[in-house]
């Protein structure tokens, strides 16, 4: 329990009276990699958005390293930073690749320009975009954009990274490079929650799979169990449908 990094308990969330998340309980240990799967509209994105405070919640607790994310000075304490990677990348179009990573450091962390650029360069190397640092997002491929987005999130030195379908907006050929970047991160020991529809990727990378439906966690367990001998009927039928399509 001592290495539990994220704790979600009794989380409820509704939009205009419609329950979208119901009594979610989820613990994430340090260095753990969790994939969330489930049909469209099951609340996966909403869960991630609650964790990074893009949505406010109706009830429940979300603790990061033992501190409620709703504490006033939450983001200022060490060990309380959350990185988020969006399906649509959401790079800043008016910044170059380098600026996309360095500027937030300067603006939010008040780090001086030189160190910010240095950090940014290190991360650009990490996602293998050395020759693109002066490019603008519109000059990049989707896969490259997503890798920049990952580097940008990493630059803030987060304790946990959230990925919301990081490859859904990409052509299959481009998904590979993004997966590789995430796998590299896993190797470095980053704690991650990944929402994805790519079952083989989820199976390969995760310590744990969480299956959601209708705003509830239906089943969770190790990839082996969930993908090959799930307990619940609903999980099984979802997996069947998904495999049919892909």
């Amino acid at each position: 329990m001592g290495n539990q990094i994220l704790t979600i308990a009794g989380l409820n969330k509704s939009f205009n009276g419609v329950k979208v998340l119901q009594e979610i309980n989820l613990d994430v240990n340090n260095r753990e990699i969790i994939s969330i799967i489930g049909p469209s509209g099951s609340g996966k994105s909403t869960l991630l958005r609650c964790i990074c405070k893009l949505e406010c919640i109706d009830s429940g607790v979300i603790l990061l390293n033992g501190r409620s994310i709703y504490q006033k000075d939450f983001a200022k304490k060490p060990g309380t930073k959350i990185g988020m990677v969006f399906q649509q990348f959401n790079l800043f179009p008016h910044y170059t690749v380098l600026e996309n990573i360095a500027r937030p450091l300067m603006t939010v962390r008040r780090i001086d320009k030189e160190s910010a650029i240095e950090t940014a360069r290190t991360l650009i190397r990490k996602v293998k975009l050395e020759n693109k640092e002066a490019s603008f997002p519109r000059q990049l491929s989707g896969g490259q954009m997503q890798r920049v987005a990952i580097a940008r999130a990493l630059a803030m030195n987060p304790d946990i990274m959230l990925f919301d379908e990081p490859t859904s907006a990409l052509d299959p050929e481009l998904s590979g490079e993004v997966f590789q970047t995430i796998i590299d991160l896993a190797r470095d020991g980053m704690t991650m929650i990944i929402v994805t529809h790519e079952m083989s990727f989820a199976e390969e990378i995760s310590n744990r799979i969480v299956f959601m439906d209708h705003g509830m966690v239906i089943e969770e367990g190790n990839p082996e169990t969930i993908f090959h001998s799930p307990e619940k009927e609903r999980t099984l039928s979802f997996l069947k449908r998904i495999r049919l399509i892909s």
């Binding site: 990074c52 405070k53 893009l54 983001a75 930073k81 959350i82 990185g83 988020m84 969006f86 649509q88 959401n90 790079l91 800043f92 179009p93 008016h94 500027r103 937030p104 603006t107 939010v108 962390r109 519109r138 000059q139 940008r152 999130a153 803030m156």
Partner: protein
């Protein structure tokens, strides 16, 4: 036809045109300032009462003639103790009027910035103000520039109305020469040409800027 009158008064007219430009630029700057504040506030979560007030401001200034607004500010307000020189009243009237329209441009431009941009900056730790300054404005401005240039042109033309406050800008000088010479045709034709040259210049510049923006966005 007798354009000697124009030749005689050309210097006069051009320096008045300069005043017209000065009035336009000054009120545009003030309007820009007001419209950014109003437009931004109306995009953000603000108390309902403030939102109501801002929307009333916008509706009133868009719903009544500029001429009446100018008369009211200059001749009306002194009776409630607000007394300002004509030049100031002119700038204020023009600016408040334009800002009502321009704030809608700013609002639309801010709303045109994808929600994801604000969300990304929020997740990175930007506060509201930083997000606005570093992320939202730079993108909104690209969208806003063409319609704002258009507002500038309108302002240039509307500044002719401040002649009623006895400010000797271009139109007033025209009237003045007219009451001395009664050569309305030549005078107003010349005024028209001067105004046209000014607005045409603005529109040429505006098209250039637009092209440059589009180019930057496409390449």
């Amino acid at each position: 036809m007798n354009f000697e009158i124009i030749a005689d008064n050309l210097w006069f007219l051009l320096s008045a045109a300069l005043l017209t430009i000065k009035i336009t630029i000054l009120s545009f700057i003030v309007a820009l300032f007001i419209s950014f504040i109003v437009g931004t506030m109306r995009c953000e979560k603000i108390p309902n009462s403030v939102e109501k007030m801002l929307s009333i401001y916008v509706e009133i200034f868009r719903g009544t003639p500029l001429l009446i607004q100018l008369f009211f500010i200059y001749y009306g307000l002194p009776s409630v103790g607000i007394n300002m020189p004509g030049f100031l009243a002119a700038i204020l009237g023009l600016a408040l009027n334009s800002a009502a329209y321009m704030s809608e441009i700013i609002r639309a431009s801010i709303n045109a910035v994808p929600m994801g941009q604000k969300e990304a900056s929020f997740v990175l730790g930007y506060n509201r103000f930083q997000s606005l300054l570093h992320i939202v404005y730079p993108q909104a401005i690209r969208v806003a520039i063409p319609p704002l240039m258009n507002s500038f042109s309108s302002l240039l033309k509307e500044s002719s109305l401040v002649s009623v406050l006895a400010i000797t800008e271009l139109t007033r000088i025209g009237n003045l020469i007219y009451t001395r010479t009664y050569r309305a045709f030549e005078i107003y034709l010349t005024l028209g040409i001067i105004y046209f040259v000014m607005t045409y210049t603005v529109s040429v510049i505006s098209k250039k800027i637009e092209k440059r923006i589009n180019k930057a966005y496409v390449s």
